[in-house]
Amino acid sequence: MDLALTETQEEFKKVAEDFVKAEVPAHQMTQWYKNKQTYQPQLVKKAAEIGWLGMMLPEAYGGSDVSTMDCAVVFEELGRGPVPGPLFTSGILSAQMIFEACTEEQRKALLPPLCSGASIVIPAIADKAAYWGPEAVETRLSKTAGGYIMNGTKRFVFDAQAATSFLCAARSEEGKVVFLLVDAKSPGITITPHVGFFISVAEVRFDKVVVAPTNLLGSSGASWATLETALDKSLPILSAYQVGATQEVFDMTCEYTRARVVFGQPIGRFQRVQDHCVDISINLDMARWATYETIWRLESGMPARAAVHEAKAVASDGYYHGTNYAHMVWAGPGTDYGHPMMAHSVLAHTLYQYLGTPGHHKRLMMDALYPRA
């Protein structure tokens, strides 16, 4: 048993920490979130230079070939920003899905530009917000003489505005869920940002978009099971990102209890206020250690499917509830869109449902532990 980070991981962490300080200072980050300008191309460029795009991929495809834990340490620090942009969507989830689903030829064509930042591949999976899973894939692929025509509307596509292409799930004429890449500039695609209490999400409409058969991932479009394999490796990275974000909320809230004076004393002397901080800390550490243990299971080759779902559920719950408890401490000032709390608050609500709500992942965890008859 050794629950410490390795020396390499400490170094990775430091690099990411310095990156966040230099490139994503709180005042700047807050403005981006406030103005809904969360796609910042310069961040993607710099991240690619450091090797953070596709970092878990083998070097042969342009990746950095680092372990899941090494990668998680970086994303945890990025979450402290919280650094916006497609570092997870393109650099982790799409990268892993292409790696899992594609032929060798496709990997060689698709992954190096993804790792260099030349292409940004954004997953566009579900058509329905109320559910996550193959059942929520409704976009249709109709066969034509030369290929396919794609029709449908993907909603709440995270980082849609950064996309050079979309990694879409669609239904074949046989009703099977298949995956394909669609150039974001294809005629018939309309991207409309969603407006509301969330961030970085847009509706992507595919109106008679022409798709070549070679755009299917792999020889026949892979399957939902392939996505699940990619998610096993990707979701813990998203969990780590949320752990970092919750850590930031916790740290700034504890600091506020020392600085903010009302009724003649720092608010941290009030036991009710202390209780909120205790609750944030529990949410934070629940998420952190569930995430780390999951990654250890993955890296040790142990069964990890249930743990992956548990960590996603706990990390999304943790960021969401941690942020809500922080609002109890921050009160009025924390509700200003010009305050870092609001960036965290909208992001926590967005990530709560992104790739499945905590409740959904808890059910998937149960199915992995105790399969239904």
Binding site: L3, C254, R269, Q274, W289
Partner: protein, 404 residues
Amino acid sequence: MDFNVSADPPHVVEFRKEVAAWVAEQIKGHEHLRWSASWSTREDDEEYKFRRGLAEKLGAKGWLFPLFPKKYGGAELTVDHQMVLETELFKYGLNLSHTFYTLARIVAPVLIRWGTDEQKAEFLPPITQAEICVWQVLTEPHGGSDIANCQTKAIRDGDHYVVNGQKVMVGHHLPPDFLWTLVCTNPQGKRHENLAWLHIPANLPGITIQHMNLMMGIKNAVFFDNVRVPAKYLIGGENNGWKVASTHMELEHGGDGRIAVDPLIERVVEYCRSTHIDGKPIIEDPRVRDLIAEMTIELNTLRRFNQLIYWRRFAKKPHPYGGPQQRYYQRMLRLRNGERLQAIMGADALEQNLSVHEVIDFEYAVRTGPGQLHGGGTLDTDRLIFARRLGLGRPTTEKAPETD
């Protein structure tokens, strides 16, 4: 990062084989007495005799406190050896700290930290070799969580302390050999500086013990009536009782860590698989599955917190609030799980089942939800300590007391 508690380095590979064979031999014929993960409050002579016997055999080999020096009843082994012992015992639902009903897991490390060489030599071996049973007796009728407001007086009289007072809600159903306690040596003295810690032989004249039948099981009131305690039983020196108490409480309040798994969920799943409604096992019911999911996640979280604290303790990486965090979480979890059990199985969760160990008895789990919210200090003191360790509203953070 490595969460594996059985990843043996080369120097313990043979040791695991030895321990596995030895434990299997001891368990033979007693397989039905699994689980000692918690404090037991039941009168069950067979279980008590078995576990006490096992503890004595472990103690004779120095295995109950494997890290301690041999002269104090330990075996001078490494943490890796200790983890072998823990994991092999856990195969039978047992663990080192709770092999039998004594507070040795806390008392022995506190003696190591605060005892004089003479005291360690005299007091430790009987404790570490499981020859005696020690109770902690701290709570007083009026003090509650405020144990520094100690009314039990110990006034020096030559080579003795004369002890008068009362402690409540302590111990269990079988008598102690020693009482490990905090007393006030100077009623006029300054708070925290007027206390002493005594290791009192329980058979001294003037000590009376009365059972109290409480929600969480049998506990006791202990009365001291002009009890003359030889001064050699003073631990940590004159008026230093609060520092000794701080070490003690850090270990009691979650700071000791553990690498065991709570067995409750296993039995809940078994119940849900074997209980049918309308021809279908209730484990298929989505509502039941959601409840089990919450229980699973929270028990997993507790296991991870315990493991983390265990690792930090032995890797010498002290953490300011791991202890109070674990303790607060653990108690709230028990409370929530009690309700979940009722939500899953209705009145079956309220019926006592004496055929299983109490840590896996649903009724015990439900009843001790509210019943164990306060032992050793209320939830609110947990959060108070937590807040100090976080430095909320303060310029500095409080460090965790030394435990080893």
